[in-house]
């Protein structure tokens, strides 16, 4: 099980993680399939998640989801976590997870690791929080 703060972009289905769905964007259609971008987070970090097809309607904000064999990579120049062809999403609960909206792993600029051409490292932070899903105002 990987914490979100430790995920690294790669062209592999190698991410097993658990997170809570904070917010869903609009569901749109891309070719034959529905897609929906969402903000998800665990206690250590947040990231943008790409739901695909039937996944779009199956999950609501507040759901706690387990991802196995997921992939964290660039899709249309944005960095998203997704199940991909070989990954699996399962709802395992709701509500009972605290979360951090910063750092947001999708809002980091990554560069190839000089010591390992197959890997990436963090270069600089583009934004502390998601620029697509702004944080709700602090309340009483």
């Amino acid at each position: 099980m990987t914490l979100l703060k430790d995920i690294v972009p790669a062209a592999q289905n190698n991410i097993d993680t658990k997170f809570i769905l904070l917010e869903k964007g609009q569901t749109t259609v891309e070719g034959q399939n529905k897609i929906c971008l969402a903000l998800v987070a665990d206690e250590t970090a947040a990231v943008h998640f790409q739901f695909w097809g039937d996944e779009c309607d199956a999950f609501e904000s507040g759901d706690i989801i387990c991802l196995t064999n997921g992939i964290f990579s660039y899709q249309h120049r944005s960095l998203v976590l997704r199940a991909g062809k070989r990954g699996e999403l399962v709802k395992v609960g709701e509500f009972t997870m605290a979360y951090a909206e910063t750092p947001n792993m999708s809002e980091i600029h990554w560069i190839p690791d000089p010591n390992n051409s197959k890997s990436y490292i963090q270069d600089h932070v583009i934004s502390a929080v998601s620029r697509i899903f702004p944080s709700p105002p602090s309340d009483m």
């Binding site: 039937d54 904000s61 507040g62 509500f95 009972t96 309340d139 009483m140």
Partner: protein, 467 residues
């Protein structure tokens, strides 16, 4: 493949406990039809058989009686194992059970009462907790109807074997009747009559069971004062207390009820297990300033239509009476109880609901006695008033006005008792350092002089009159 207990949607894992029941049933299916084996199972086999039979009872209505006969034949522990599994089904799975499974569930629960199985009382209490507040949907009304009927049919048995359960049922149905009376719809008439009959039966025939509830019994009755039977009961409690058969207790005056603190077991009754998990999580794990999403999800699930705003009353009683965070949590940056209550107050629309929520918040203040009451029950109200200065001064003002109004009007005959209660509540909160002093209220320039003076008088009354 055996029938399911719930409908698991796609992308969701089957509940582990549900899976264990189904697997037990599938593996033992051949042995669940007569002739039954006479060999004595070892403990593991016994546990597996109990789970299998439970699954069979819930999913095979035509064979339910056969399964029960089998259970009666092999039981060696007073049905404790069987009832423990049944309790888990109710507590963790009830909201998602298929309708036919719920029917079987109620049937088998009554069977366990008949045989006085060990633990049937916990099952009945868990079923009571599944009655939703402010919910007049068919499923919820069906559950009310099945339960009130069960309690009436098993009345003598319960009275003798588990009278506390009748007391819990009384609390639940008095509360639920307020919802049913408020809605005033034709389809509710028969159910209302039955619920009124049940409540009146306990109060008139076994008054000591009402006394077990403590002061919240009066609070619940007052919400039903427009119903003739309950108006008569209230009148008798206040003016003719000797009318009541209070076995082993000399009931002389309503103030004896006022001075009995209501156990947190009652405030838990009107909170479903799911709601309880979410509320306790909010008050233990979510940081102040970051609770907006969790509050929104909670409201979307439990407060999502106008009828449900009265559930806030039950939630406030729960927060004050049944959720007492330890010091580490109180001193941390976790959402404090007063903040959640402040949010609930703003979530109410009607003035009737707002007034009831405020009464729920202050109820343990009115007759506060350090010797029997807990400071944790009164702490949220004073902190909400104090922390709302100056940014949310309207809240402080409306709460103080309400409190002073309550002191003058709640029970005019016993105003001295109430003044003493509220004053000693304030004094204890200062003495224990919950608030450093009340100057923040008595010297607050944003509050009217009249209000400040009223509070000042109340505080000094208490001191002069204290024994």
């Amino acid at each position: 493949m055996a029938s399911r207990l719930t409908l698991t949607p796609p992308f969701e894992a089957e509940n582990e406990f549900e899976a264990s029941l189904r697997q037990a049933f599938e593996s033992l299916k051949p042995t669940l039809r007569p002739p039954f084996s006479l060999s004595i199972p070892n403990p593991d086999e016994y546990a597996l058989l109990n789970r299998a039979i439970l699954h069979g009872v819930l999913t095979e209505p035509h064979f339910a009686k056969t399964h029960i006969k089998h259970l009666h034949a092999l039981v060696t522990d007073g049905y404790a194992t069987f009832l423990n599994s049944l309790l888990n089904v109710v507590h963790h799975l009830y909201p998602r059970l298929l309708a036919s499974v719920k029917t079987q569930l109620l049937w088998v629960s009554e069977e366990t009462v008949r045989v006085l199985g060990i633990g049937y009382d916990a099952v009945l209490v868990s079923l009571l907790r599944q009655i939703g507040g402010g919910n007049c949907g068919d499923g919820n009304l069906w559950l009310c109807s099945k339960l009130v009927t069960l309690f009436l049919e098993q009345f003598e048995c319960l009275l003798e074997d588990a009278p506390h359960v009748l007391s819990f049922a009384l609390y639940s149905f008095l509360r639920v009747l307020a919802d049913h009376c408020r809605v005033g719809v034709e389809k509710l008439e028969t159910l209302k009559r039955l619920e009124i009959h049940f409540c009146v039966k306990i109060v008139r025939e076994e008054f000591h069971l009402s006394l077990l509830i403590g002061r919240d019994f009066i609070r619940l009755l007052q919400d039903l004062v427009h119903v003739p039977e309950f108006r008569a009961i209230l009148k008798d409690i206040v003016f003719d207390p000797f009318k009541f058969n209070a076995v082993g207790f000399e009931f002389k005056d309503v103030s004896q009820i006022y001075s009995t603190r209501t156990s947190s077991r009652y405030s838990l009754l009107r909170i479903s297990p799911e709601m309880e998990i979410q509320l306790r999580f909010l008050l233990s794990n979510v940081k102040l300033g970051h609770q907006r999403r969790h509050q929104m999800w909670f409201a979307r699930k439990f407060l999502n239509d106008p009828d449900k705003e009265f559930v806030a009353v039950d939630i406030v009683r729960f927060i004050c009476c049944a959720h007492h965070p330890p010091n580490e949590v109180i001193q941390s940056d976790v959402v404090p109880r007063w903040a959640l209550i402040g949010w609930l107050l703003t979530a109410c629309r009607s003035s009737h609901a707002v007034a009831n929520v405020k009464l729920a918040l202050f109820y343990d203040w009115l007759f506060f006695d350090e010797r029997v009451d807990s400071i944790m029950n009164i702490e949220p109200a004073v902190l909400l008033m104090v922390h709302s200065v100056p940014q949310y001064i309207d809240i402080t003002r409306s709460l103080l006005e309400f409190l002073l109004h309550l002191v003058d009007n709640y029970d005019v005959e016993r105003k001295d008792v109430i003044v003493k209660g509220v004053a000693s509540a304030f004094q204890l909160l200062v003495r224990k350092g919950v608030v450093r002093s009340l100057d923040v209220l008595t010297s607050c320039p944003a509050l009217s002089p009249g209000l400040r003076e009223g509070l000042g008088r109340l505080l000094s009354c208490g001191k002069v009159g204290s024994s």
